[in-house]
């Protein structure tokens, strides 16, 4: 078995919605294409429908009438999960406590009737791939959280699934471990080159792991795009605020400039409207001499974060602005500073009221 050549299936989710028996709509009808060996991240706060969508792909939920799920063009909507050949990693890992590490990893292969020797060889390969060497005979309750997570992943990819479905696989871990495993998981997904759908509420995970991100909100898709597109050109205020830090200012526009309490800022492109909701990322604003910039404000607070510092500036816009400045700049609270914002760093958002 060569792990490097597996790519999984291309998926098509057509018109899939989910209304539960009690009438609550968990997911508005959505259509999505997922390319072969692409990692698609479903990102959103809890209750946004991301897990429901994942479970529809898995075959654990049936979509409302008319919805279809296609794997490589084949309609699997009516097939239960056991017929779909999907690998799943759960938030709780759902490892079988009555089986050892090796037995867990090999369980799907055993169900497929693979001869013992062949099974052992494949399990050994997966053990090596996921860095679980020496733990094969351990019971599940003798593993650390990170090890359990890797066993769950190895078990899911052992069956050479058409698609790997990961439901918040890192959420149960503590922050430091989560960050390290995120990197490992990313390497592994690239190495396997497998089609994957990854559900998370953590935007940092989504950015690092996703080829594309689907931002979801209240059962509907808010935006689909690459991590860069989502970050730099959010489609609306929700996406801008959910992904990364954002300053959102509402201000009148006059002559291609935002009119702010602390001055004027030119915006790029044709700004024809008279009022705008504008987004500026903190790291795109630079601190400068107040005399040289069109916009100035008073430093309200400085939060030193080691590699950078976040400076809160009031009186520049209607709300205090967050500015991420290099850690070498020295400013004091109460000091008047100038702010320079490149015109193309200002993103005008549709005004949703």
């Amino acid at each position: 078995m060569n792990m490097m050549t597996r790519h999984g299936a291309a998926l098509k989710i057509e018109n899939c919605g989910k209304t539960f028996a009690d009438g609550t709509c968990a997911l508005a009808r959505a259509t999505l294409d997922i390319g072969q060996s692409e990692t698609l991240v479903l990102l959103g706060p809890s209750g946004c429908g991301k897990t429901t969508l994942l479970r529809i792909v898995a075959g654990l939920e049936t979509p409302d009438g008319g919805g279809r799920v296609l794997f490589d063009g084949k309609d699997l909507t009516r097939q239960p999960i056991e017929k779909r050949n999907v690998g799943m990693v759960f938030q709780s890992y759902a490892l079988f406590p009555n089986m050892s590490v090796a037995e867990n990893i090999g369980y799907g292969l055993k169900l497929r009737g693979l001869p013992k020797a062949e099974r052992a060889a494949q399990v050994a390969e997966l053990v090596a791939l996921t860095n679980l060497g020496g733990l094969e005979d351990r019971r599940i309750d003798q593993l650390s959280g990170g090890q359990r997570q890797r066993v769950a992943l190895a078990r899911a990819v052992a069956i050479r699934p058409s698609v790997l479905l990961l439901d918040e696989p890192l959420t149960a871990l503590d922050a430091a471990l989560r960050e390290r495993l995120r990197g490992e998981l990313n390497d592994l997904l690239r190495k396997l080159g497998i089609t994957a759908i990854y559900v998370t509420h953590d935007q940092a995970e989504a950015m690092e792991l996703g080829d594309r991100i689907v931002v979801m909100r209240k059962g509907a898709i808010a935006q689909i795009g690459t991590p860069r597109e989502i970050y730099f050109t959010p489609a609306n205020r929700f996406v801008a605020e959910f992904v990364g830090a954002a300053n959102i200012v509402e201000a009148p526009i006059e002559g291609g400039e935002l009119i702010l309490p602390g001055g004027r800022v030119p915006v790029a492109g044709p700004a024809t409207m008279s009022r705008a909701v504008a987004m500026v990322r903190p790291e795109t604003i630079a601190i400068a001499d107040a005399a040289t910039t069109g916009l100035a404000g008073i430093v309200d607070g400085v939060r030193f974060a080691g590699d950078r510092q976040r400076i809160i500036v009031r009186d520049a816009a209607s709300l205090p602005l967050a500015v991420d400045a290099p850690n070498t700049i020295k400013v004091r609270t109460g000091e008047r500073v100038g702010l320079s914002i490149p015109p193309d760093a200002i993103r005008l958002l549709p005004d949703e009221g």
Binding site: L60, E82, S92, A94, F96, Y107, L111, R155
Partner: protein, 271 residues
């Protein structure tokens, strides 16, 4: 008074009660068993005497059959009740667990009403087949009574254990291609094993020692509690009934201890 001696003081009532109601009668029972005309070998009679040995075997077989049948019926019912919500579910659980409130006499009475000479089964069978089927007064009636008695306890234990089962375990097995039968075999039953062993042991012990039902149904059913009763009251054979009592106690205790060891292990294995 030091903290330690205070604790010891508090243990005194427990020690007194244990001595009065447990240690002394047990000791007396042990001594009585050895005071018969046969002396200490009286204890071997339970195995050596053909009649006693047959009764012991009968009792163990009945208890084992009750346990197996109870576990099968209660596991299926318990899993179903835990997983499905339907109108009348609460009523059904209430009815199923109702026998918990009955003493053995009432259970025996109900078995007679079902399968006795004037029982429902006899009525129906005599009309349909022209042959009156009556089995309440035999070991089959007793089996049915014990079943009725044990099922509620086991159902409740299984339902509690099934509730604690992580549903994603089953979903994970299914995603790997497991059929419903494989899920049951590889995931559900292993997870329920501790509960099955624990409640099975209780069912076994109850069926070994229960007396009320047997006494209500008939006097000629060969089970150990009945034998002890007849030796004691009819034959006045104090030594034999004491020895048999000790034998029954030791047997049941052994089974329970075995089950506990096994449960302990499987609980640890289930993490």
């Amino acid at each position: 008074m030091s903290h330690k001696s205070f604790v010891w003081m508090c243990l005194l009532p427990l020690a007194a009660v244990t001595a009065a109601f447990f240690v002394l009668p047990m000791a007396h029972l042990l001594v009585t068993g050895a005071e018969g005309p046969r002396g200490l070998p009286e204890y071997l009679a339970i195995i050596a005497d053909p009649r006693y040995r047959a009764t012991l075997l009968n009792t163990v077989l009945l208890a084992a059959a009750t346990t197996v049948a109870t576990l099968i019926a209660a596991t299926i019912t318990g899993l179903f009740l835990q997983r499905h919500r339907f109108p009348g579910r609460a009523v059904m659980i209430a009815i199923l667990t109702f026998p918990l409130a009955f003493p053995g006499v009432v259970i025996g009475f109900m078995i007679i009403l079902l399968a006795g000479r004037q029982g429902t089964i006899g009525d129906v069978s005599s009309r349909l087949l022209g042959d009156k089927i009556v089995f309440a007064y035999s070991i089959y009636g007793l089996f049915l009574g014990y079943l009725y008695f044990s099922i509620p306890r086991v159902i409740l234990t299984i339902m509690a254990a099934a509730q604690k089962l992580d549903p994603s375990l089953e979903e994970a097995a299914r995603s790997l291609g497991a059929s419903p039968w494989a899920v049951l075999r590889d995931v559900v039953l292993p997870a329920l094993a501790p509960a099955l062993v624990a409640s099975g042991a209780i069912a076994f012990a109850t069926a070994m020692g229960a007396f009320g039902t047997a006494f209500t149904l008939a006097t000629n059913i060969d089970v150990l509690p009945m034998l002890i009763y007849t030796e004691f009251t009819l034959a006045g054979n104090l030594a034999t009934s004491a020895a048999l009592s000790v034998g029954l106690g030791v047997m049941t205790w052994l089974i329970l201890a075995l089950a506990r060891t096994f449960t302990g292990n499987s609980v640890a294995a289930a993490g």
